[in-house]
Amino acid sequence: MPQTGLKVSVMDSTPVTTAFVEIDKVRLRYLEGDGLALEQTSMTIAKGEFIAVVGPSGCGKSTLLKLVSGLIRPTEGKVRVDRQEVAGPLKIVGMAFQNPTLLPWRTTLDNVLLPLEIVQPHRSNLRRQRKAFEEKAMALLSSVGLAGCEKKFPWELSGGMQQRASLCRALIHEPDLMMLDEPFAALDAFTREELWDVLQGLWMTRRFTVLLVTHDLREAAYLADTIYVMSKRPGRILVRYDNVLPRPRNQEMTFRQDFGDLVHELKGHIRTVRAA
C-alpha cells in the first residue's frame, strides 16, 4: 500500500524545534470524584501547523481545545503556548463551533467586528479607526464569499453563510491560534466541502496555527498537516499521521488512491477504538 499518511508512533514523536503549542503529560478531571476526561496526553504543534483531532464522541476533543485556549486548567501536567505556561484565557485565540453563535440582533458586519470591541489594543482604537476596521471586515467577508451580506442579519443567512461569517469573526483580530470545534458538522456535504476550500485558502494566506476537531475523516485528510486519533474516554492520543498530500489540496484529490488510503486507514483506527 502506498504510504501517504505517514504513521508515526506517539512515543517517538520527537518534539518539533519550533514548538508553538506544547501539551505536556496533561490529565484532566472535570469534577472531584469523576473519572478522567483526558488521560495523559502530550502533543506539540509547530507555528503555522494545521492539525486535526479525530476520535469517538465524548473522548475529550473539545476538552483539549479548551485546555489549549486556557478556558480550563489541567488537573496534571502543563500546557505551554509560545513557551509561556497557559494560566488563563489566551487572547491570541479565534474560535468557531458547530453552532455559529452569531448574535441575532447584530448585522453580519457588526458580528464580525465584535472581537475588535473586546480585544486590546483594537478596543481603544475602535472609535478612531472604525472606518478602517469596517473595511477590513468587509474585505474578510468578501474573501469568504459574503460580499454584499454585511448589512444582513444572521437569520437572513443560510447555515453555510452563517458559518462563513463565524469564521470571519474568529479571524478579524488576526489571532495566531485557531480553535475549530466541528465547525462544519451541521452543514450539508456540498457546503461543507466548499468551506474546506475557504478555510484552506484563509490558512494558506495567513498561516495561523489551527487545531481542528472533527469526526469527518475526509475533512481531516483534506485539511490537516497532522492528524491525531484519540481513544474513547478517558481520551488519549493513539496515533499520529503526517499527512504529506501536497497543497493546495482540491476536490479532485479526494478521488485519488493515496487520499482514499489515508481515509481508509484512519477509519480502521476509529473502528478499533470504538470496539475496544
Partner: protein, 257 residues
C-alpha cells in the same frame, strides 16, 4: 398568512370583547337579575358617565401609584435579576428567599405597610412594587443565565470581562425576556395598588369601589372594575408596542411563520 386570515386575527379581540358584553347584557336582562347583585354593562357604563369626575380623579391616583411602584420594580428587578442571572452563588443564595417572598400573599403585607407608613399612597406604591418585581427578576435572570456556553467561550478567549459579556451579549439577549416580564409586571402592579387602596386609602380606584359598595352602588363598583381593566390593557399594549420596536429580531419567527 392569507389576507382573510390576517383580518380574522386582527378583528378577533374586538369581536370577543363585544361578544362578552352582549352576552352579559342579554343574560342580565333575560334573567331579570337585580342590579345590586349583577348590574348590566349598560348600567355600569351609565354609572361611569354619571360619576366621571370622581372616577377620573381616583383613576389618576391609581395610575400614579401603580406606575410609581412599577418603576421601582423595574429598577430593583433589573439589578437583582442581573445579579442572580450572572452569578451562580448569588442565585443559590437568593433563590429560596425570592420564592418564599413571592409565595406570601401581598394582601397580608398591606397592614404592615400601613403600620409603618400610615394610610394613603405610600402603601399602595409599595404593594404595587412588591407584587410586580418578581417576574422581572425571574425573566432577566433567565435571559442572562441561558447564554450559550460556546458564546461565553468565544468572548472569554478574547479576554472579555464579566461586565463586557453582560454588556455585549447578556443584556441585549435578555431584552425580549425583559419586555415579556414588563407586560406581566405592569398588570400585576395594578393588582397591588388597587388591593392596597381597597383597605388602606382615602383615594384611588380601590377606595372608590370600596365606598361605592358600602353604599350599595353596585353599578359604580362594576364601572370601577371596567376602568381598571382598561388601564391594564392600555399599559400592556404600550409595552407590547415597545417590545415589537426594540426586539424585532426575537419575534421574527412568529412573523415569518
Amino acid at each position: 398568512m392569507s389576507r382573510s386570515r390576517f383580518n380574522a386575527v386582527h378583528h378577533a379581540p374586538w369581536v370577543a370583547s363585544v361578544g362578552l358584553f352582549v352576552i352579559w347584557e342579554l343574560g342580565v336582562r333575560v334573567s331579570g337579575m337585580p342590579e345590586y347583585i349583577l348590574p348590566s354593562p349598560s348600567a355600569a357604563l351609565a354609572a361611569a358617565w354619571t360619576f366621571r369626575e370622581a372616577i377620573w380623579m381616583h383613576a389618576e391616583q391609581t395610575m400614579i401609584t401603580t406606575l410609581g411602584g412599577f418603576l421601582i420594580a423595574v429598577i430593583f428587578g433589573v439589578i437583582l435579576g442581573a445579579a442572580v442571572g450572572s452569578s451562580r452563588i448569588i442565585y443559590s443564595a437568593l433563590n429560596p428567599i425570592l420564592i418564599g417572598f413571592n409565595s406570601v400573599p401581598k394582601i397580608a403585607v398591606v397592614p404592615i405597610l400601613v403600620m409603618w407608613f400610615g394610610i394613603g399612597g405610600i402603601p399602595a406604591v409599595l404593594t404595587a412594587f412588591l407584587i410586580s418585581f418578581f417576574p422581572i427578576v425571574a425573566n432577566v435572570a433567565t435571559g442572562l443565565a441561558t447564554l450559550e456556553p460556546e458564546l461565553q467561550d468565544v468572548l472569554r478567549s478574547l479576554g472579555a470581562s464579566r461586565l463586557d459579556i453582560l454588556r455585549k451579549v447578556g443584556f441585549p439577549r435578555s431584552l425580549p425576556y425583559f419586555f415579556t416580564s414588563l407586560k406581566v409586571a405592569v398588570t400585576l402592579a395594578f393588582v397591588g395598588s388597587v388591593m392596597s387602596e381597597t383597605v388602606a386609602a382615602n383615594v384611588g380606584m380601590g377606595y372608590l369601589m370600596m365606598s361605592a359598595s358600602s353604599k350599595f352602588n353596585v353599578p359604580l363598583v362594576f364601572a370601577g372594575l371596567l376602568v381598571i381593566a382598561v388601564m391594564g390593557i392600555v399599559m400592556y399594549g404600550i409595552f407590547s408596542l415597545l417590545e415589537n420596536r426594540w426586539t424585532k429580531w426575537a419575534v421574527r419567527g412568529a412573523r415569518s411563520a
